[in-house]
Symmetry: C2
Subunit: 221 residues, 2 copies
């Protein structure tokens, strides 16, 4: 896993709330590895379009995928600028004033131009990364893509060269006068994510056990 520092450019440099900007590459990797959905932004006919999509990271490359029929994916494949944003909400920050209410969160913003992965070996590699991010263990457990399925799937690769990370943690930052007044509660209500009980497909033979890679899946970070 790479530990090179982020390389800020004007558009990836965080101008506000610098204390929330984490410039450590490790923070970027950790967030990208913890979240399952990203929001892909692209300009279509001059207007922004933001769509949720799956992704996966391999070193310095972010893989994205989708149906070859999606217009935004086709534009991205052709080298349009994209913005990929990943956000994890960690809690609600209750302050003594409405103004200082906030959220604890981790957010990464990656800018760049994606490239279409079109050779079969590269596509298989990208799909493996995407699959093992979405469902660790599934690449070795489920049937792998055949040529028809490979052809129907667009795989994009985006280098992690222009990125920023913003993290807020900890208690509210209240004004001293509000703390002294002592009229309101203040603190953090943490948001937890956990996996529920696996719901087996009804078409499975009776008694099929839930495999360990599903039942024992660690909680999202």
């Amino acid at each position: 896993m790479s530990r090179v520092p982020l390389s800020p450019t004007p558009r990836s440099t965080i101008n506000r709330n610098r204390k929330r900007a984490a410039t450590d590459r490790a923070a970027l990797d950790a967030l990208l590895d913890a979240a399952l959905v990203c929001h892909l932004g692209i300009v279509v006919d001059g207007s922004p379009v933001v769509l949720p999509t799956g992704f996966g990271r391999d070193g310095d490359v972010l893989y994205l995928h989708g149906s070859t029929g999606a217009r935004s994916l086709r534009l991205a494949e052709r080298g349009a600028d994209v913005c990929v944003t990943v956000t994890m909400l960690d809690g609600v920050v209750y302050a003594r004033s409405v103004f200082h209410h906030s959220v604890n969160y981790r957010s990464a913003v990656v800018h760049g131009r994606a490239r279409a992965v079109t050779d079969e070996a590269g596509k298989r590699h990208g799909l493996r990364v995407l699959t093992e991010h979405l469902a660790p263990g599934s690449w070795g457990h489920a049937r792998r893509p055949d040529r028809r399925e490979l052809a129907a799937t667009a795989v994009l690769a985006l280098d992690l060269t222009e990125a920023s990370v913003k993290i807020r943690t900890g208690p509210p930052a209240d004004d001293e006068a509000d703390v002294a007044a002592g009229t309101a509660w203040a603190g953090v209500l943490p948001l937890r994510r956990s996996w529920g009980e696996p719901e087996p497909c009804r078409l499975l033979p009776a008694g099929t056990p839930v495999p360990d890679h599903v039942r024992g899946r660690p909680a999202l970070g």
Copy 2:
């Protein structure tokens, strides 16, 4: 609460996976009321920028806010096209084939041009909607914004006239041959969200009780 149908336009019409498109306005409202963070897309110098931000809904209006120092907010205030996307991940769909792996999710995409709310009464109303969405009960509990704080906060309003909702639920959609082969487990691993134990600010007087609107907050839908 409004129950008018969504009004699809070419860019808000879902062309792929129509079965996942929910055209009921109630589905849009329910999702917008369940999620705490949206992703705001805007075109800056010709490139897409996607940032997480808070929001709140009042009838047919979506309110967004942020610091008046944020460039993307300033562009949105001036009438640039925006795209606001809200996504809730509900589970991972494990299929018998890698190809049919998926996620259960709800996603709303709203297109439009936002307007800056600048009059004091309108701004207070928007902030109340935003606050009660982020932290129900806080508008009545915490100190409300003074004029200086109002001035430092940008409130945007976006009409919910051009929107689409996409929802995936249920088991994997496997190929018959894979079901018959019976070699892989298939089903859904649901993702749950819950609130953790409230973490009171250390500056509170000892013994300050956690108010009901925090301790009894319902789980995110």
